[in-house]
Symmetry: C2
Subunit: 214 residues, 2 copies
């Protein structure tokens, strides 16, 4: 049987996994709202941002409590510090999903993504979904090989980001509001992927640090 202290640490991991699932679901639905100009889905994603903030506050509270009452050391302390940082990063990823949903809502009933850029955004959405799912697994399993996979997926996102930018520059006849929207949307997907990589790197650091100590 685990003691109360280790149960608290396990619960912290559970909350991070739950938060990453919520953020992944928000991003997946934000992409649906964007690509299908679905206002109802957009509204739901925008509303979910409060839930993410609430989980993050809960994680903040829990980590402060563990630090104050249990005074963890060594690998447990590193885990608590990493949890605080992951909470902040996941919260930011939720914000990005919300920004995408808000853009979809702002353009409704039009589609913010013009026909000719739908293939790239569909692919960016797919990469974001894969990365969010893998990120959740990595937080739960602390599997370093899985974590490293996120870097490869980020390369795919960067290539798509570049394609979208090149398309914009090659088609100066596009409407200016479309150019503004696409520039920002492109950045939101790219940043989402960057944050997933930063989560992976923190998990790798956590595990490698533990191994080095052993």
């Amino acid at each position: 049987m685990r003691d109360v202290y280790h149960e608290m640490l396990d619960e912290l991991t559970d909350e991070l996994v739950e938060m990453s699932r919520l953020v992944g679901s928000m991003m997946q639905r934000a992409s649906v709202a964007l690509l299908e100009a679905d206002r109802v889905v957009a509204e739901a994603v925008i509303a979910d941002d409060e839930a993410v903030d609430a989980v993050n506050n809960e994680i903040d509270h829990r980590t402060a409590e563990i630090l104050a009452l249990q005074q963890p050391v060594a690998s447990d302390l590193r885990m608590v510090i990493v949890a605080m940082r992951l909470g902040a990063t996941l919260e930011r990823m939720g914000d990005l999903a919300q920004h995408i949903a808000k853009t979809a809502r702002m353009r409704y009933p039009d589609n913010a993504v013009p026909e000719e850029l739908r293939p790239q955004f569909t692919q960016m959405a797919a990469v974001a979904n894969r990365m969010a799912a893998r990120m959740g697994e990595v937080i739960a399993s602390k599997d370093v090989e899985q974590a490293r996979q996120l870097e490869n997926e980020d390369d795919q996102m960067d290539a798509l980001h570049r394609q979208v930018l090149d398309h914009l520059l090659a088609h100066p006849e596009g409407a200016v509001n479309e150019t503004v929207d696409i520039t920002l949307l492109n950045r939101y997907y790219e940043r989402f992927a960057d944050h997933a990589v930063s989560v992976a790197r923190r998990i790798i650091y956590l595990v490698i640090g533990e191994r080095t100590d052993a």
Copy 2:
């Protein structure tokens, strides 16, 4: 005479103040590089990002050390947690200054900001400079009234951000690469101000929390 433990906490604050000065200086010079198309200044800002990352790593190291060796409680613990978060936020502000400098470098010898938007960007630069300076003072003094001032300055930044966007939309004849650059630059300044506000809010929380406990 202060003991070693409280000296460590004071040093943490000193490092955060130093980091905020460096980030403020980067942003100030990034704006110069942008508005005067100065490549040498842009390169210097880009190089400075490593120094910011180094200070942030130092803060991470120091906070982990304080948590492990001193096991702070109550307001000291809150201060250490806030320091970790401020380090991450300041690091991100340095990234934004670097992004602005990189845009200036990419367009050199051209000016990334067209003549008609120079007044707005000059004002955004001035607001960013004021906010960065005030942020450093707030970290050092933990003055709640000063911290609240940052919210007003953020409103000024938001109004300028809106003006730039409106200008873009009202002038669809602009070059597409200019629209892309301005959209992103506009966002970098807005985000920089948002981060300064988040620093202020954490300081307010720290102080109010202390007062509530007293």
